[in-house]
Symmetry: C2
């Protein structure tokens, strides 16, 4: 819980009363490896915060290949915001790829808090904007680098992830085949 409070206070100031109100809406959700937090074709119903474990966002491209769009590890918000905010069907899966422990808000509570707490919406805006900017910053440079460089970038961005998840997910994140990734790892070491 403290982790989450620290997280949001990076983006603005709230008094104890407000923090208590926010905290009162939190529930804990445990997801087993491979379970979904939200699914393509459905409307995202909750906002989460990863306390322990790693999740990923993935989708299927035209050719039916499963693509990992990004990973979300400890102390980050996990939510399909586009779907959640606008009540529209998502086109991506959000999946636990290790056993996970999350804090979650229901959509009803989340919306109530936004209307109740002065300044909370500004904080949320900042959090979401930063997360979006980070996604652009992380994904975009991959386009112009070769596979080895991309793998090294991945290691830098997600230093605590590589040993905890299947390499196939990393390969699909990097846009290369598992075999290529394997060869690259061999070359590097």
């Amino acid at each position: 819980m403290k982790e989450f409070i620290d997280y949001i206070l990076q983006f603005g100031t709230l008094n104890q009363h407000q923090l208590d109100l926010i905290a009162s809406k939190i529930t804990v959700l445990e997801l087993k490896k491979d379970e979904y937090f939200s699914e393509a074709g459905k409307i995202a119903q909750q906002v989460g915060f990863v306390l322990d474990g790693i999740t990923r966002v993935c989708y299927y491209n035209n050719r039916g290949e499963e693509i990992t769009k990004y990973f979300i590890d400890e102390n980050n918000l996990v939510v399909d915001m586009e779907s959640f905010d606008n009540d529209i069907c998502s086109n991506a899966y959000v999946q636990a790829i290790t056993d996970c422990k999350l804090l979650v808000f229901s959509k009803k509570d989340w919306r109530e808090l936004l209307e109740t707490i002065i300044g909370w919406d500004a904080i949320v805006h900042r959090i979401i904007s930063k997360a979006l900017r980070q996604k652009v910053e992380r994904r975009s440079p991959l386009v112009s680098e070769d596979a080895t460089t991309r793998y090294l970038m991945f290691l830098k961005i997600y230093p605590n992830v590589i040993n905890r998840i299947p390499l196939s997910y990393v390969a699909s994140y990097l846009g290369i085949t598992q075999s290529s990734l394997s060869r690259i790892r061999k070359n590097i070491s």
Copy 2:
């Protein structure tokens, strides 16, 4: 001017008085091909809206290669928001790649409007969030597709751009060499 009003009214409602106030702060900026709207190493000082022409955001990667991150064509906001908002040096250039006609707000006016007009900040948030989401949606899929597919995606996303700018910019946007792009174009036609 009408284009800009229509643009912002997509994201929320404002009365005539508010629109007039916003309009009163607008100036017109003409940029010649190759001129910069904002530069790496400097703090972005203005928000623009492209009336005519095409701009791009680009930067130099570790190996000194010039990378085009994205294009901004007619009826879109052009601003290095990270730099503009936080008054920090940018690491990217925003450059006109055809002769351009822009509407611009100075930072002072922009901030005054945000504080003066109720609801304007919410509209701006929505505009920026959507733009960021769009950048993720456009850039991310490039990672997992081959060069031909990437080029076809580019054509779909920017249908009015290909015949107006140098192919070298398109190549650097797609993360391929000019020669490869040339061969791909040959194969397709």
